[in-house]
Symmetry: C4
Subunit: 276 residues, 4 copies
């Protein structure tokens, strides 16, 4: 006999039972509905007409998600672990803004953080293949974290230098009103966004700005190179996965006949299409 | 003896006969002419002077393409299959706007959808090599579809978060008049387009905008990495098709006749090379 | 005994003799000087003060380059071949605008085409390594030409569709005054340049523009992937170059002991650093 | 017995002793503090209120760094070598602007060059792994320097041509007031920054600008391809270091103990792996 707690756990965590699938579909629907409601509420013409309805919807979804959060804590074997997991934090952040808006008006627009909950869709739809791809991508990106950190750190130092140089050259009369403002300009320029809300007016300023642009245009090659090299490597190593019967090593070259770790003969590789 | 239907089929689908080639050249010419006519018609100074002529041209091309569409349906062995194919849909969409413009003024400018018909040029010019390249590219891109989908989905969630954060921070008085409007700003910023029609005015807004820009600048590396890895892999996937009978080496260049490791003669490879 | 023609040929084409080196240095100096003179002449404040001097400099350099062009034709064994080569055409275009400016005022600013002559610097400085790199790059890019052409053609069709869609949606009252103008906007947007001189005003227009931006942001991955895959392949194949003593094939895998084409044993590969 | 000089050397260069670690932490703190002080001083509202305090802080940090620089010169075995090293020059440039501001007002904002000193953080935190990544990145980038130089040189010539073409076509009345100004526009456009402070007004100008944008959009693939190929190569260059005594295969993973082709034991590899 199932207890109530067990039954709820099957509904919430089960993806095979009809009840679990129904719950997942309703949850995704509720998340999308609540995000759209917050968005519509921010459009003044819609709020004027349907404000009461949207306010009701906001509290309805918030109470729903609060109950859901409580049940998740209740049925979880390790409630604290769930509460500190990525989705646990997101689930909590998805309900706080409404309660907060009772004290701080406007904070309920932060409810769109609920959009992050939509990422559950990967699990809900049992898109194992998508999850595999997402994991593969995630692993590759995690492996590049140190190289990317070194790169971003260096870029940030370059941005500070360019920013303060432009502050000295252009000065407040041309819109570069302070060094933080100039650094904002440098970020806008080096990332090639280029709003044009602040732009150099003097000849020397334009020369320095040109250097900043060319720098930004050229160095985008670096993170791209880092990530590409890693994804290429991850792609190759995952494609030809075979387990050694001797030492259980997984990663082997496609043309390997013997394990490079223990010398055991490997099972033959029947080449599959790369992703399908 | 050919029936009329067979003769037309040879004209429309044949690429080797003089009649078929003539038809293809005329068709491409008519497509280009009709697209240019629609474009010119939209320039008010030209329309004022040559409006009647361009109107006549539009109906001429539309009737021509309508007849062509009817003939294609008629001569095709599986008319429904053609009608639902990519080019079948494009062919239909290429004539509808003119008829529609009798009821909804202005809809005839959608006739530029005819530009899609120009893609037939690949077939017409019998550019087998170009088609091979296009196929190779297409296969590589299709294989990345799931990774790209995961990436785009994640980016879209990030865009929603940034958008609503800016709506709360900057607010309607600085141009961020609603969350959809702020999301539009976030897309403009993260894709590094940067029109500057909406830009942050407050210090905190500029800080968040800077984060959005750096995010957009850095994550472009991800789809690039995915696509590059796939295209690279498409180039090398030919290599693991044969085993050397002498030393059991698997990895051989497509044009290898002897094993590069032991000098043994290799079995013949019947597959075609990737680029030539 | 050298004839005058032979002596001039040694001066112009020689890169080893002192006279040849002196000529090359003077030529690069004259090219740079003439380009800078044209640039300065376009700045109105400078032209007002030094106009006569810059006008004299322009005619001095033009006559100098005209004489040089004549001598090159004279000393060349195949004058027509030189005249039709890349540098031959550039050399001619470098002098024409000045003569043309006698009839069409303002055309002398096209003299900056002379900047192309600066590319001779690669030869002058005998930067064999640079030339090797340039060739390697050039070969890789030439190999991608068909794939890039297919890509650019498809992008252009997408640009036409987006452009005319926006013309219908936004219309002349929002700056999209004609389809060519809308296509210009689509190019500005899809290449992520984003001037902001024309930007969508309506909600539907912003939605379509967002799609255009995301398209432009995502598809940049395609040419990058194509070029990267080709450069990677070129890099690997050039690095391990060995000639087979039997059949003279050049390209071999780094771990090859026997020629994959004729089975002959290959010379050992002493691994060098990749570029130095 | 340590002399005073030896003791200071241990403090400044030591990273293992408590005194050395304390010094490093204080130094990073002082660098960050001094950079933030300069930034705050440039914000007029803050300067008005805390100007005296920030002025004092600036002189405090400057005198501190001056003393530190003197001590580094004193304790160094080769003072000249330190003075000419990257960090030696940065250390000197970090104090000069304050002294210079006694004569040239405003030059003290160049103090943000001190931000470069923050790069010492890599050493201070003994982030050996980060340094390894930085080195690996640096080596790959250094190897691409010639290809990148050829590319940048060619791009610059293209920019000059586009710039002067637009000067002739658009002219001063549309904001293209001189060739240097037009070249600035060309850089803004080709790097896809797109401020929009100068943009083409005529039809022909928009056509040329479109070509410039598409050029800039497409050629970003080239440096990305160069850098990616080099980073990828740096990852795999470890593989061709050992030959199997059984089957003479050369290509083995760095962590292989047995040949993956014949199962023979491989000679030990003394080199370290690329990433760990």
């Amino acid at each position: 006999m199932e207890t109530l707690r067990q039954r709820w756990r099957h509904i919430i965590f089960g993806t095979d039972t009809p009840a679990g699938q129904m719950f997942d579909m309703l949850l995704i629907g509720a998340i999308l509905g609540s995000v759209i409601a917050v968005m519509l509420d921010s459009v003044s013409s819609i709020r004027e007409e349907y404000g009461v309805l949207l306010y009701a919807a906001e509290w309805f979804f918030t109470l729903l998600f609060t109950v859901e959060y409580a049940i998740r804590l209740w049925v979880s074997d390790r409630p604290l672990r769930y509460a500190r997991s990525f989705f646990g934090v997101v689930d909590l952040l998805s309900v706080i803004p409404t309660y907060l808006s009772l004290f701080i008006p406007g904070s309920n627009y932060l409810l769109t953080i609920r959009a992050l909950r939509v990422l559950r869709v990967f699990r809900v739809m049992k898109l194992a293949k998508f999850m595999g791809e997402a994991n593969q991508l995630g692993i590759a990106l995690v492996r590049t974290r140190r190289k990317i950190a070194v790169f971003m750190f260096s870029v940030f130092v370059v941005i500070i230098i360019f920013g303060s140089l432009m502050y000295v050259v252009e000065g407040p009369e041309n819109g570069f009103s302070s060094i933080p403002q100039s650094i904002y300009w440098a970020i806008v320029t080096i990332t090639t966004v280029g709003y044009g809300d602040i732009s150099p007016q003097t000849g020397l300023g334009k020369l320095i700005a040109s250097l900043a642009m060319i720098t930004g245009y050229a160095i985008i090659a670096v993170p791209t190179g880092i990530v590409t090299a890693e994804i290429s490597a991850a792609r190759v190593s995952m494609r030809y996965e075979r387990e050694c019967p001797g030492c259980h090593r997984h990663s082997h070259e496609p043309d390997a006949r013997f394990c490079l770790q223990c010398g055991e003969e490997l099972p033959k590789l029947s080449l599959k299409g790369p992703d399908d």
